[in-house]
């Protein structure tokens, strides 16, 4: 197991190197940051000056090496717009996004698996039909529409949840959390529901499919023949097997939710990384964009490794050696 993790980490480093190269190349050849930095009305001399100060007049390979050197030391450069360290800016926004994504993934996991079990145990009841129809909606409706509909209903019509912002937060060390205040919970619910919608629907369907297959396995017959209660047969013997693919999918999508909750954050003006990314794209703030992409890659890689470890734990047939 340890060797496996080390190997995965090394692979991860190679992936990150590739990502950084792609980022660098992409941004050197798409648009000129100088236009942004110096302003629209700058003279030619002012522009040359800016170009020189930022080292943008040096040969490409030199720029790349100094960029890489900076990255290795955790220096991703400063935001062109605010002149604040890019990594700091993003990390400051990280807790908001992480809390949003975690809440969303908890909602989709608990309800996705729970409802998935319900529809597979009572497949023909009206409740199951409603859930399955709902899951079809969840899969087909785009995230932004779910968000807007939720805002329309909960914030505009019945006015019980706020439609934007993060509410009151508490600073604990470097982490600013919204999960310790009532207003924080009120604010996180709608965006988290929006973000969880698609995943929830996917997990209901995945759980149902897995349950259907597992419940017809021989070992389920064995479990019944032992005299175990239906609850024990379903929740212990069947569910544990169904969990193997479910946990994998949940883990992988958790990484995606953290990295790409841009749309939801924008709808709800959530002060997270996604929102910052969108602003930075509008302002061609390259250091922020590059840092964001690198960080997203890091998060997804880390979560993938964690999922692999969890997978081995859930499935004794898999031992990575």
């Amino acid at each position: 197991m340890a060797t496996y993790i080390i190997r995965r980490l090394l692979q991860g480093i190679i992936v990150l190197l590739a990502v950084s190269t792609v980022c660098f190349v992409m941004f050197r050849y798409t648009g000129d940051p100088v236009l942004m930095l110096a302003g629209k009305y700058a003279t030619q001399e002012e522009r040359e000056h800016v170009r020189h100060v930022y080292g943008l007049d040096r040969p490409v390979h030199e720029q790349y090496i100094s960029f890489l050197g900076g990255v290795l030391q955790g220096d991703f450069g400063k935001s062109y717009v605010s002149q604040i360290d890019a990594l700091d800016m993003i990390l400051e926004r990280f807790p908001a996004t992480f809390e949003l994504a975690s809440t969303a993934i908890m909602i989709s996991f608990i309800f996705g698996v729970g409802l998935g079990v319900v529809v597979s145990v009572w497949p023909s009841g009206w409740l199951s039909r409603t859930i399955m129809a709902g899951s079809l909606f969840g899969i087909s409706i785009p995230t932004f529409l779910i968000g807007i509909l939720l805002v329309m209903f909960f914030s505009v019509y019945i006015e019980i949840f706020p439609s934007f912002g993060r509410g009151d937060t508490v600073q604990i060390g470097f982490w600013r959390t919204g999960l310790l205040t009532a207003s924080g919970w009120q604010h996180i619910l709608l965006p988290a529901l929006t973000l969880s919608g698609y995943q929830l629907a996917v997990l209901i369907r995945l759980t149902r499919a897995g349950m259907r297959e597992t419940l017809s396995e021989e070992y389920i017959k064995t479990a019944k023949a032992k005299g175990l209660s239906p609850a024990k047969v379903v929740l212990k013997h069947a569910l544990r097997n169904v969990m193997i693919p479910v946990v994998t999918i949940t883990g992988l999508s958790f990484g995606e939710l953290i990295a790409f909750s841009i749309v939801t954050e924008t709808i709800f003006q959530w002060p997270g990384m996604g929102n910052l990314l969108l602003t930075s794209i509008f302002e061609t703030d390259q250091p922020i964009i590059v840092t964001y992409i690198m960080l997203a890659a890091c998060i997804i890689l880390t979560i993938n490794i964690l999922v692999d470890v969890l997978y081995a734990f859930l499935n004794p047939r898999i031992r990575y050696d």
Partner: protein, 332 residues
């Protein structure tokens, strides 16, 4: 209801309601099982022997399966009338079952010990720790080496034979009165088959458990059973003591089954006659032929066979057969 037998199945009817129609898998089966005896139930695939077992255990998938009639008497109660909750106390604890595929019958994500422990925890009210120790003892009794270590292993770490032993350990954990073994050796290597049968019979001696051995392998039956019930198309066609059945075979179907066993060494001895097979196939359960279900494959089929179905006729002590050939003229 009283029965002098440990288990008595009377006129059991089990059907499956599918899109293609109603499959009458078990169509009026009666047999009994006495304390401590081994009853063999033989028949080709699809004759209803496994469905009979699942009906007794009440673990049929319902729907599409349904017990439509008959009684299953065990300990003076009709199992078909019990609620699932009452049935759970009998299942596993008093009537246990082992299945054909040791590869798939154990849950791959739990340790062997965990799966055997469940029996002790459920039926004997043991604590987790006690149950684990009892499980190791059971593994020892089915001759699995290093049982203390094996309880912590997962099914995939054991060989097929070992897994079937673990299944036996699990089934016999609470010393049930009846063990239903559904093709317990079919999926195993021949060398392992004998070991498994030995272990089952030895444990049976120790615990006094009665065994209902379901198989299509007449060798296994001859080796283990006191009495044999032969099934065809959801019905019992012949029933007799083991020696009697092998020496005084009456039903053409049973004869066909016996004739299709290869005789070891007969080719080199030059006495080999070509191995006979029973012509045709088992009738579809959706369209069981009128009259005798076997008539289309039977060499001796007569006019009456197509017209009416024969009853099970007592032809000797404990020997019964369902065939017009053996029903005296005056009863026709």
């Amino acid at each position: 209801m009283k029965s002098e037998h440990l288990l008595e199945v009377l006129d059991l009817k089990t059907s499956f309601y599918t899109f293609e129609g109603v499959a009458r898998a078990v169509n009026g089966v009666s047999y009994y099982l006495d304390k401590g005896e081994t009853l063999g139930i033989v028949g080709e695939s699809g004759c209803g022997k496994s469905v009979t077992a699942s009906s007794v255990m009440r673990i049929l998938p319902e729907p599409p399966g349904k017990i439509e009639g008959g009684t299953i008497l065990f300990d003076n109660q009709d199992l078909t009338k019990l609620s699932q909750k009452q049935m759970r106390r009998i299942r596993g604890g008093r009537i246990a079952m082992i299945f054909q595929e040791p590869m798939t019958s154990l849950n791959p994500v739990f340790t062997i010990g965990n799966q055997i422990s469940e029996m002790f925890i459920l039926h004997k009210g043991m604590s987790r720790r006690e149950a684990m120790e009892a499980s190791a003892d059971m593994l020892d009794r089915v001759q699995i080496p290093a049982p203390k270590a094996r309880v912590h292993e997962y099914p995939h770490q054991l060989s097929g034979g070992m897994r079937q032993r673990a299944m036996i350990a699990m089934a016999l954990a609470c010393e049930p009165e009846i063990l239903i073994a559904d093709e317990p050796t079919t999926a195993l290597d021949v060398t392992v088959q004998a070991q498994i049968l030995d272990i089952m019979l030895k444990l049976k001696e120790d615990t006094g458990t009665a065994i209902q051995m379901i198989t299509h392998d007449l060798g296994v039956i001859a080796e283990t059973s006191n009495r044999i019930v032969v099934m065809y198309a959801g019905k019992v066609v012949e029933e007799a003591g083991t020696v009697e059945l092998f020496t005084k075979t009456l039903h053409p179907y049973t004869r066909g089954l016996l004739a299709s066993i290869p005789l070891l060494g007969s080719r080199s001895a030059g006495t080999q006659q070509s191995l006979s097979e029973i012509k045709g196939t088992v009738p579809s359960l959706f369209e069981i032929p009128s009259g005798c279900a076997f008539r289309q494959r039977c060499k001796h089929a007569m006019k009456i066979c197509a017209e009416r179905e024969p009853e099970l006729e007592q032809v000797g002590s404990g020997h019964a057969v369902r065939c017009w050939l053996h029903i005296p003229q005056e009863k026709r």
